[in-house]
């Protein structure tokens, strides 16, 4: 535990081109070129679009994860973001460029309520409270038939509108490449934000809270408000991911977007990749999800998700720092 703190704080002072940064740049370059590499194959593109979206979920989860809390309730933010954007665009006809940020703020509001209830709790009890919290927005969405159409869900959601940039006409609606790039841009932005947070004073303070909360308070860190703040940030980006999901898949229902799946996925990726690293969670998403879709899904159509459980169990038992966290520890 102490190791990773010193590593992370030292990380901020490494200005040169470290192996870390080189591999990060190569990875991003490959992702940028992916539509070229996967030419003529919509399936591969779709899988990687989804993988990038799940990577943003894991990155957003990890903002809260840095403070040492494990949340099992992020599906609440994901689902409310998805429903908020879907309902705003369907009923009010607002443009997606407005509804998606609004969805982020609505998820933040929900994060505030959850924070008020859960922030007094620590460790296992925090995790249990967040797990229980999902039920509240889910059951309300399920029962509020007039607005949300209940368990039937919402169909025919608007896709991303086409953009006219001078001579170029980008059609997000029908082109898988275009929707890949929009998620990729969001992913890059979020990666930048998470990288910034991790190296900023906020990140250092969150790590201090994680290592020793009472001592961190003694040196003047407002532990409770910072933990709440990291939760709000995490909720905001999870809500935006949820909204993106709604407009990419264009169908949502309460059981789907408030399902345990979207709580489990970011936690699994973050823990497997390395909870206290910047790119570990994203890397895990980009490896494990395609592995699931390309290999396990065709082999075992029903029940292929056991893979996620297995990798989580293996990570908890054998690689508590995650594979990226472990790799960095052994190489540097």
């Amino acid at each position: 535990m102490i190791h990773s703190t010193t590593k992370n704080s030292r990380y901020g002072f490494n200005k040169g081109l470290t192996p870390d940064k080189v591999s990060l740049l190569i990875g991003l370059f490959l992702l940028l070129l992916l539509p070229l590499l996967a030419r003529h194959n919509d399936y591969i593109l779709q899988v990687f679009t989804h993988a990038l979206l799940l990577a943003t979920l894991a990155l957003a989860w990890n903002i809260l994860g840095l403070s040492g809390s494990i949340s099992l309730g992020h599906a609440a933010f994901f689902g409310s973001g998805a429903y908020a954007s879907a309902l705003l665009s369907l009923n009010l006809g607002l443009s997606l460029w407005i509804t998606i940020p609004l969805a982020g703020f609505i998820a933040t509001g929900l994060g505030f309520i959850m924070g008020l209830i859960c922030m007094r709790l620590r460790g296992a009890y925090f995790a249990l409270a967040t797990l229980a919290f999902i039920e509240i927005p889910r059951v309300i969405t399920d029962n509020w038939d007039e607005v949300t159409r209940g368990s039937l869900g919402l169909v025919g959601l608007p896709g991303f509108p086409s953009l006219n940039l001078g001579p170029w006409h980008i059609d997000f609606y029908s082109s898988f490449t275009a929707s890949y790039y929009i998620v990729f841009i969001y992913f890059l932005l979020l990666l930048g934000v998470v990288g910034f947070i991790f190296r900023s004073n906020l990140g250092l303070a969150l790590q201090a809270i994680r290592e020793e909360e009472i001592a961190s308070q003694a040196v003047g860190i407002h532990a409770d408000s910072l933990r709440l703040f990291s939760m709000l940030l995490s909720a905001f980006f999870t809500g935006i991911s949820g909204a993106c999901y709604a407009h990419l898949v264009r169908y949502i229902n309460p059981g789907l977007v408030y399902g345990l799946h979207f709580s489990a996925i970011p936690m699994i990726f973050a823990i497997c990749g390395g909870r206290f690293t910047i790119i570990g969670p994203a890397l895990a998403a980009l490896i494990i999800y395609p592995l699931d879709q390309f290999i396990f899904h065709p082999l075992i159509p029903a029940g292929h998700e056991f893979l996620y459980g297995v990798v989580l169990i293996l990570a908890v038992l054998f690689l508590p720092a995650g594979f990226w966290g472990n790799l960095r520890r052994t190489t540097s």
């Binding site: 494990i70 995790a127 509240i136 029962n143």
Partner: protein, 285 residues
């Protein structure tokens, strides 16, 4: 009408007690949060369903088989848990969450996602007792749960083994110092938990629809009752189970059955707000 609500609440509540006892026992003795508890109950239900449907085994005979299967699984789970590093409570949550996913998907693979129910026609009939109507399934749930609670009470409070288990629940280190083998007590708690789950599962299968993802609800139920009761208090668990059962049946009558699922979650959140450090009280965290 209110007596019907009361009867169904109490009988459901008694069944919830049966479900929660295994969780509470395992948590009390070993301090592992077993988030796969609900999945294990559903798995036991599926085992019973399968034996009853495919091999046309009599329903009563499914109990010993379910218990045996759960026995083996619980011992395997215990081995995984014992490899965990600190902090135990949080890591056990993450580990058992992984196990829950694995069990859920294995059930999806083995039994498919269709809704299953063990239909026993004779249980659907009912009888009148002093003007109170009660169906046989409610009566069975109530009776069996009370018998199990009574037997567990005898075990915990009238035998030497029970004394050792209670000592381990109250203070692990002190128990170890006075010569109790805490590791064996942990194994024993898992075995006893397996018996309780193996009893609860088939009953669950004949009163609720079985499908792979339903276990989550059961887990939440067991957690809520355990946190309400506090560790090692059998009477607390009984009280919590009945309160939960009554709260659910009143919610169904007053607001409709679709709000039922929120009752457990809201109760758990209220509990945690007032007991922020959970079961141990506020001296430790």
């Amino acid at each position: 009408m209110w007596t019907t609500v009361l009867v169904s609440g109490i009988s459901m509540g008694s069944f919830y007690i049966l479900i929660a006892l295994g969780f509470a026992l395992i948590f009390g003795v070993t301090r592992y949060f077993n988030l796969a508890h609900g999945e294990l109950v559903v798995l036991a239900g599926y085992v019973a369903y399968w034996l009853w449907k495919v091999y046309a085994l009599s329903f009563v005979l499914t109990f010993p088989v379910a218990i045996l299967v759960l026995f083996l699984i619980c011992l395997g789970i215990k081995r995984l848990f014992s490899r965990l590093s600190e902090p135990l409570e949080l890591n056990s949550i993450v580990l058992s969450f992984g196990m829950a996913i694995v069990i859920q998907n294995s059930m999806l693979f083995l039994f498919s996602g269709h809704y299953r129910l063990i239909r026993i026609p004779s249980l659907n009939k009912g009888f009148q007792f002093h003007g109170i109507y009660m169906s046989y399934s409610q009566f069975t749930l109530l009776l069996l749960s009370l018998i199990v609670i009574f037997l567990l009470y005898i075990l915990m409070y009238r035998t030497y083994l029970g004394k050792a288990l209670r000592a381990t629940i109250q203070d692990k280190e002190a128990a170890a110092l006075s010569g109790i083998n805490v590791t064996i007590m942990g194994t024993f708690a898992f075995c006893l938990g397996a018996v309780l789950i193996g009893l609860a599962g088939p009953l669950y299968g004949c009163t609720h629809y079985l499908y792979p993802s339903t276990g989550h609800e059961v887990t939440l139920l067991a957690i809520t009752i355990t946190i309400f009761a506090g560790v090692g208090r059998l009477s607390g668990i009984i009280l919590a189970g009945w309160i939960l059962g009554l709260a659910e049946s009143f919610t169904v009558i007053l607001c409709g059955s679709s709000w039922r699922e929120m009752v457990t979650a809201v109760l758990l959140l209220i509990l945690l707000t007032f007991k922020p450090y959970g079961i141990l009280g506020n001296e430790e965290r």
